[in-house]
Each structure stands twice: as C-alpha cells, then as structure tokens.
C-alpha cells in the first residue's frame, strides 16, 4: 500500500522535475511539452475512472475533451469580441477567467455525459464501445458543420485565459496550473476509488451478478462514475484549449478518444499514476521518434502490443512497487 503511494508520487514528481529543469535550462518549449503531458495525463486520470475502475471501455471520451475545449474557446472568443454567448432565454456573457471557465466546461460536460452515459450503459461489451464512439462522432460532425465557431477550421482565441495572481503566458506558471489540477484529480481519484462508492464500482466491474445479489444496482454506480470521469476529461479539454489558444473538431475525433485510451493502457489500467506515466511516455516518443520518422505511431503500436501482451499492468506494473495490491 505504502509503496504504491510512493510510486505514484514519484511519477508525478518526475513530470514536475522535467518542467523545472527545462525552465532553469531555458527551454520553454520543453516546459510546454510537459504541460501538454500533464493535460493529457489529466484526461487519462479521468478516463481511468470509467475504464480502469468502472470497467466501461468508452471509445468516445474525446467528446468530453472536445466539449470542455469548445466551451472554453466559445466563451473566450466572445469575451475577446465583447459579445454575449447567449441572448435567449437569458443573457450569458463571455469569459476569459479560468476560474469561471472551468466550472462552465465541467457542468456542460457533466450534462453531456449524463445523457450519453444513460443511453450507452443500456448496452455492454462491444456495443458499449460502439455506442460511445457513435455519440462522439455525432458531436464531431456537428462541430465540423458549426460555422459560427469555425466549423472545420476550428476556433482561435488570441489571449490565453487568465488566472488570478499568475501570468498564464509564462510557460512554467501555466504548467503549475495544469500540474496542480492533475494533482487534485489524482487525489480525488484516490479517494473515490477507496470509498464505499469505489468498492461497489470495482465490484460491479468484476462481478455484476454479485453486486445485484448484494442489493446494489450497477447502473447508478456506473453512470455516476461515467459522469465523474467525463467531468475530469472536460476540465482537461478546457486546459488543452488554453494551451493551444485554439480548438478544433480534432479534439472531438475518435483519434483523440484512442489517444486518451492509449495513455491509460500504456501507463497501467486502473492505476492512479498510470495515465501520468502513459501520457509522459507518449509525448516523449512523439518528440523523439517523431523527429526520426513520421511513421512513429507504428512503433507506438508495437510498444502497445508488447504492453498488452506481456505487461498488462502497463509501465507502472513494471516499476518497483507497481505490483497490483487490491
């Protein structure tokens, strides 16, 4: 138990160390890469709640990443233009404040997840994968045809949203925001998975029949986990929009869903720091191998294959202290 906590803290600390060293060495580009890794890790921590602990293989979590991103982009672009987001049935002004945008992004993703989850969870197995994918693709095509917000070209906003007391344009400060939220999400995830709810959720993944016989309905557990998971991914999407100051339908595409899944599987399914290791290694490979060949994803594929076949615990399962405890 203790060793796992140390391992999780070490993985997180490694990410922070990379950003700090890069900052001191005068390599802001690397700090930005570490920020990207932290944001992807945050999305992975979110998906891990549904996929790892809840056993719900969602192939549509990009929809929440994208919704978080679009909410941020839409509010930010309206704030820049000085126009309201909505005038009917009530007036909603734009915003360029992260502390206002995050809750907004999280609430909208929660509502979307409630609808998508309630419908998808009527199925299971392969059908669940397909239904979540179908929902994500629906929203993806909607975004492509939504001219008002850039359609296929996406939506740019030129000023990164602000956070009280910080200069969000300074790479290290923006990294601190992303890493802080990642730490919060990991802490939240650790609490939830050990709670009564987490006990029942993990039981429902492993043995649905037994959970029913214990007087607990798996549906409500899984829907709750699905929504919590989506909200964290939506928050990551909001940060990602701010990182690039740009949102596009690509954030909603099935490629993105697949990538978030890769972070989780590469790092270790159902392990707290798994997505952090997974996202970190993903970004590292993208940088190192991507420079060598544009077909670097073929190598990523081989690595994934090796992990799934020979190390189902992912990267974390290979590290000391990473052995499964519960």
């Amino acid at each position: 138990m203790r060793r796992v906590a140390i391992l999780n803290a070490t993985v997180f600390a490694a990410l922070v160390a990379v950003a700090l060293v890069a900052h001191l060495a005068g390599a802001p580009y690397v700090v930005t890469l570490a920020t990207k890794a932290a944001i992807f890790a945050l999305a992975g921590v979110g998906l891990n709640l549904a996929l790892g602990y809840g056993g719900m293989v969602s192939f549509g979590h990009a929809v929440f990443f994208g919704i978080g991103g679009y909410v941020t982009g839409i509010f930010a672009s309206h704030a820049a233009a000085g126009t309201p987001v909505l005038t009917f049935p009530f007036t909603v002004a734009g915003s360029a404040e992260m502390l206002g945008l995050w809750p907004m992004a999280m609430v909208v993703t929660a509502l979307a997840a409630l609808v998508i989850g309630a419908l998808s969870l009527r199925t299971s197995g392969v059908y669940f994968i397909m239904v979540t994918l179908a929902f994500a693709q629906m929203v993806y095509y909607f975004a492509i045809s939504w001219r008002a917000y850039g359609g296929e070209d996406g939506l740019s906003f030129y000023v990164r949203n602000s956070f009280p007391g910080l200069n969000t344009f300074a790479p290290l400060q923006f990294f601190a925001i992303a890493a802080g939220l990642l730490a919060l999400a990991m802490g939240f995830s650790a609490l939830v998975t050990r709670s009564r709810f987490g006990l029942a959720l993990q039981a429902a993944r492993a043995n649905r029949q037994r959970v029913m016989a214990s007087g607990i309905r798996p549906f409500a557990l899984q829907l709750t986990a699905f929504v919590l998971s989506a909200v964290i991914v939506g928050l990551a999407g909001s940060l990602y929009a701010d990182l690039n100051r740009f949102v596009s339908p690509a954030m909603l595409s099935w490629h993105m869903s697949g990538e978030i899944m890769v972070f989780v599987i590469l790092g270790g399914v159902g392990r707290l720091a798994g997505p952090v290791a997974g996202a970190g290694v993903f970004i590292l490979l993208e940088q190192v191998l991507g420079g060598v060949s544009e077909y670097w994803q073929a190598l990523l594929g081989l690595l994934l294959l090796a992990i799934v076949l020979y190390a189902p615990g992912g990267i974390l399962g290979l590290l000391p202290g990473g052995r499964r405890h519960v």
Partner: protein, 249 residues
C-alpha cells in the same frame, strides 16, 4: 400464515417448448431448513433464479414476508433480506475476503454513494464484515484475496456474504458443491447454526447433508414438485424413491 416467510404459488416458466418450472407451489416457514432436491435438469436453479429475481416467471406469484415481490428486480429483493449464495462461487476475485463481505454489508445497509472516506477505515462496514467472516469460520483469513482462497473457503465466504445481507431468508444453491467430506461436515454444522438467523431454502445434492439438516424436503422432477414433507416421509415415499432416490436410498 404469518409463519410463512416465502410463499410461492403456481409458478411457471418456459424456455421455448421446455417447461422448466411447471406449476411450482412451495413455502418457507420461520425457523426451518427446507431442502429442495431433484435430479440434474429438474429446474432447481431456474426456480431459485425466479425467486431471486434474476429471471421473471411467466405465471404465478412470489410473496416474501407478506409482500408480492414479482415486480422487484434482484437488487430490490436482496435489500428486502432475500440472501442468496451461488451454485458456482460468485465472489469478487480481486477483493479480499473482508472486502467481499464489506460489499454485502454495504448493500444491506445502504449509503453506497459516499465518495471520500476510505471504506477500509469505515468501521460501520468492517466490524460487521469481520463478525460475519468469523461466523462463517473464516477468522484470520480476512486479508486474503478471494482468488487465492481454497474452494471450501470460498463457499464459506459466500455464507459470510449472505449473513452480512441482514437476511430474512437464505437461498443457498448447492453450498456443498465440490467440497470434500470433511469440508461438507464442517459446513453442515455452520448451516445448522444459520437456521437461528433466518430460514433456509437449501438446494443440495449431498444427501447426507440434506437428511442431517432439513426439516422438510421438496422433490422437484421435470419442473414439478412431486412431494413435500418431513424427512422420514420423503425417504419412505415410493414415487420419490423411484424417480430420484432410487439409486441412493
């Protein structure tokens, strides 16, 4: 009537042309162990599943403590105190014995939607779970993952989980299945004590155990109850001897 906890009337269930349950009428009374015996394929498991709510009957009614439960799902019936064990051990393999039992305590007591406090430090869950594990003869095995428990221990874990459900009645589906003679003897003693907690509807192939434990026996053949009565009466019943006990008694 108040003596009857579980009352099954005219239950019918067909799968295509096969009548798996053909007009079964059965009751379970306070303080008794009522054994349900019958050859393989007689429809015992199908009957149990209709009582637990995993299957819905085509016709007939099931009343539990005076309340018709026909429209309730398995989770709702479990919360009323209908505690079942499975023919093939059905526990959460990656959970420890303690965590498995805590799950049953949680289901019976409610309060699933609590997100922040570690369940393993929640004495409202762990204390009853430890108590019931001890009752089922698993003291000292709390921290062992269910997947590494022996077969007999897993059968006991099922009993502990049923006990943790605050049961008003037990439905035990072949609790002795696959146990050695010694294990079966130990479990017989435990089941005998269970009677004090709540009455038991016991599906069992081990005739020594059935004759040692049961107050009444019902014999199910081809989806029909061909006889119900005290042990001695069933042993002497010529139809039962012919259709079922023939090879053993």
């Amino acid at each position: 009537m108040s003596d009857v906890i579980l009352n099954i009337r005219g239950l019918e269930k067909s799968f295509g042309a096969l009548k798996a349950t053909d007009g079964v009428t059965l009751d379970l009374r306070r303080g008794e162990i009522h054994a349900l015996i019958g050859p393989n394929g007689a429809g015992k498991s199908t009957l149990i599943k209709q009582i637990t709510g995993e299957l819905r009957q085509d016709r007939g009614t099931i009343t539990f403590e005076g309340q018709a439960i026909d429209t309730l799902d398995a989770a709702a019936r479990a919360r009323l105190g209908l505690a079942r064990s499975f023919q093939v051990s059905s526990v959460v393999p990656e959970f420890t014995a303690l965590e498995n039992t805590m799950l049953a305590v949680l289901g019976a007591g409610g309060g699933v939607f609590r997100f922040l406090r570690p369940a393993l430090q929640d004495r409202a869950l762990t204390d009853p779970a430890r108590f019931h594990l001890e009752q089922a003869g698993l003291a000292g095995r709390e921290g062992v993952p269910a997947s590494t428990l022996s077969h007999g221990e897993r059968r006991r874990l099922e009993i502990a989980m049923a006990l943790a459900m605050r049961p008003r009645a037990f439905l035990l589906d072949e609790p002795m299945a696959g146990m050695g003679a010694e294990g079966a003897r130990d479990l017989t003693a435990i089941l005998s004590d269970l009677r004090a907690e709540a009455p038991i509807l016991l599906v069992e192939h081990d005739m020594d155990a059935v004759f040692a434990l049961a107050d009444r026996i019902s014999v199910l053949v081809y989806g029909r109850i061909i006889a119900t009565g005290p042990v001695a009466e069933i042993r002497a019943n010529p139809e039962v001897r012919r259709s079922y006990l023939g090879e053993e008694a």
